[in-house]
Subunit: 549 residues, 2 copies
Amino acid sequence: MKDSLIQSTDSAYSYPLLIKNLLQAPLVSAPDQEIVYRGDRRFSYREFAERVRRLASALTSLGVKAGDTVAVMDWDSHRYLECFFAVPMIGAVLHTINVRLSPEQILYTIDHAEDDVLLLNSEFLPILDQIRGRIDTVKDYVLLHDDGPVPDSHLTFSGEYESLLAAASTDYLFPDFDENTRATTFYTTGTTGFPKGVYFSHRQLVLHTLGVLAALSTPAVQGRLHRDDVYMPITPMFHVHAWGLPYIATTMGLKQVYPGRYMPDHLLELIDREKVTFSHCVPTILHMLLKSPLSRTIDLSRWKVIIGGAVMTRALCLEAMQLGIDLFTGYGMSETCPILTLAHLKPEMLDESPEVQADIRCKTGLPLPLVDLRVVSDGMENVSRDGRSTGEIVVRAPWLTQGYLKDHKNSEKLWEGGYLHTNDVATIDHQGYVKITDRTKDVIKVAGEWLSSLELEDILLHHPAVGEVAVIGQPDEKWGERPLALVVPKAGATAPVTEKAILLHMRGYADKGLISKQVVLLRVRFVEAIDKTSVGKINKVALREKYLA
Amino acid sequence: MKDSLIQSTDSAYSYPLLIKNLLQAPLVSAPDQEIVYRGDRRFSYREFAERVRRLASALTSLGVKAGDTVAVMDWDSHRYLECFFAVPMIGAVLHTINVRLSPEQILYTIDHAEDDVLLLNSEFLPILDQIRGRIDTVKDYVLLHDDGPVPDSHLTFSGEYESLLAAASTDYLFPDFDENTRATTFYTTGTTGFPKGVYFSHRQLVLHTLGVLAALSTPAVQGRLHRDDVYMPITPMFHVHAWGLPYIATTMGLKQVYPGRYMPDHLLELIDREKVTFSHCVPTILHMLLKSPLSRTIDLSRWKVIIGGAVMTRALCLEAMQLGIDLFTGYGMSETCPILTLAHLKPEMLDESPEVQADIRCKTGLPLPLVDLRVVSDGMENVSRDGRSTGEIVVRAPWLTQGYLKDHKNSEKLWEGGYLHTNDVATIDHQGYVKITDRTKDVIKVAGEWLSSLELEDILLHHPAVGEVAVIGQPDEKWGERPLALVVPKAGATAPVTEKAILLHMRGYADKGLISKQVVLLRVRFVEAIDKTSVGKINKVALREKYLA
């Protein structure tokens, strides 16, 4: 075979895919664009870039070197965005700590990631005080503080963020290095055992930015992101890079709004005042926002929202659509950077009824460019594209974690057979839409037949007296498993709901052939609340431990 | 330093950026979308993908291996698109031969690129007959033929394209390989000496696709490409990958129309019938289209056009805008894959008068994401962003040729100091717009002061009796250089134009301070035609040889 790699002349510049390169275009074409913190602090992109250089200088002065790990505990802020860029750009690793974990879990992740420096919002001092004396790796703490007196603490700070930046040099020449250098790391939650660390390189984050951008900006009308949009995250920046959108918004030179701690009315006020047009959040948060009376007095008809992290119900989707919100599902996970699919409508679907549209918007979506997503049987054969045959979603893409940090066994399990296993069970239809029907471990196997707990939950939610519900499989001698529905009755329902009424409701669906007859085996247990994970998903692991033990 | 590259678990899939990966998303989400050839042959993306596999099988049967070079001489066709994918996807190099070169130059490029197989449209048999017996490397010729009898030729064909495809297997498993594998090669023209070969890897083409897509799809309104657009190239596919748009259109799953040989009325009919909404072309072609009476009877108001390859005049821009065409400049060169900048309007500019808009649309544009474009002085210092200071455009991007094929000296000159030198002289303004004022070698140095030949040409074109014009620098003992205007008088002008009238016209501009006083040194020579290069640019090299020798 002839030598087929391209030859580079000695002087040619071999361009690495580094996060710093995302900053080039916006600084040329949108230097005066705004980055807003909580509605009261404003920075131009030019100032932002200067602050990124100051932060790099300040961290370097603290002794941070390439390969070190800098952890952050903060709500969504301009500071966090500065860390998204400055930390990886000096060759260090950004550890975005999930502040909703328990103090013990946070300690575990700090230890496991071997954090060298911790940038800490003063609001989280109480957490740190609970684990004091037990953090071994951190050499410097930097205080992030908005206003008012700093609460007492036993920690000694190497400085306060704004003072360090003010004192730092604006001259910082970000070096080139290997694009496979680790840029970020964080921990997945919601499963058994200790949190598992995932990690992403500069190359992966740049390609995620470009790949998501290619999917998000190309629709003709529905759900598209463009240069006049105003972006505000409502998925925390510690959660899978706020779905990567801060990198995308910056590359596009968008106005960006960082809301601090999420408080529903404050978020709605920011949407109104700053004219926010693009966000992303989990269904729970959207539900909270729509429950606020303020949501009925402000104009939400220009707001586009990616919904992810959990399945959006049709009812929630329809309620939001009535306010003019353009919402649609995005799918991914911590292991996938995260975005793999987006549930955009095809042009002809925009003529459909809201109900039909909602069904599509609630699907998992169409795979992004460069995403090789397959729905496969146990033997790794593709299932038919009929919208009915189910299989596991397995995936290849240029932005998937290449393993779990220091965890060989789970890394190999994740990548078994060369595809990343999502553990999500789905169908794919002839138009290309993927639709998750269950998590592999959430499928309930009744007499050898698979029942989808998500499908059961969806039908149960149609009962007027059901507020929240989770269905898990209860081991059963006769049937193998029987579905158990944990039901939170709806507040203010006219009459108390009974198991019998619910079973009658389910039988109606079974009689119409809409669901398997096996559903008559359902048992119902009324509970006061459903356990959630730190990111607001139903915690089936905890539920199983609690109700099946 | 700690080891900072990401670790891949043994089973993890390390995703290379290969051209085959661009095909994944459209085959899932738009398998029934159409690819149209000349308005009469239609293929779905599903069929297209099958034909790509058949072509790969057929080429492999002919003995083509990874590292071999497959050359194509064809007008814009579905076949060419199939070659854009199949040839690189088997690991071979696609050589897109410029059919407008002279037979001797074509022979030179076939030889220099070491073509193994040549796919040849029967229309070019006369060219091949002129160089027969002198092609050493080509082992197989494949005939591309639309209809009617094949002209006589001395060539022996290994088969006809459609027959080979019909006989070939649809099973072809495209292998993974290094993303830095050479995918394409072609030759630059319009300069002195032999054509120079440039080359691009899979990685470069994938990143060009994503980078251009990020710039082209994100504007809010003006000049944006979206999923409902219908694409038709009017820059030949042999010319810098038709500016990369076929790869972009395919990735997006757009309807694509390939027009065969460019004939103005046929192009206009296709725009009308196939509802083409997105194209790109050089000013000369646009000029030809607008000269056709058909352009006044069909609706062009949904047509978006990138203009590149040569500077668009304000007059042409305004004429097109009056028909509702959304046109704007794109900039790049063979060495740059090609696109580096696009002259999109910023939202507030859409309220400006057509004249003001035209000025912006005629600028060189804003750099694309990931493009590190600098306008520098001789000492490589950035010039001020004042829209007045001029310097050379030098550039880094992930998709620049890493040299000229087998030409060390020119490769090093191209990349001197680690930046690719464009030889274009430009300004950059505070809004980020780059504007080319000249080619370095086109600048005329009068008494130590630089005069822009483009600026002079622009002013000369405002004279009502001037049809075409080119300005070159004439060596002069006293002044160093004096500008010489080669003027083609406008056909049908009322009175014959004189040198005196033109000088008076120029003096008017100088008196208003719009141009340097040195312009009085202009000499005028009336000519019948201006020499153009094979891609329709003014050929200053030829003009200098002709008029200054």
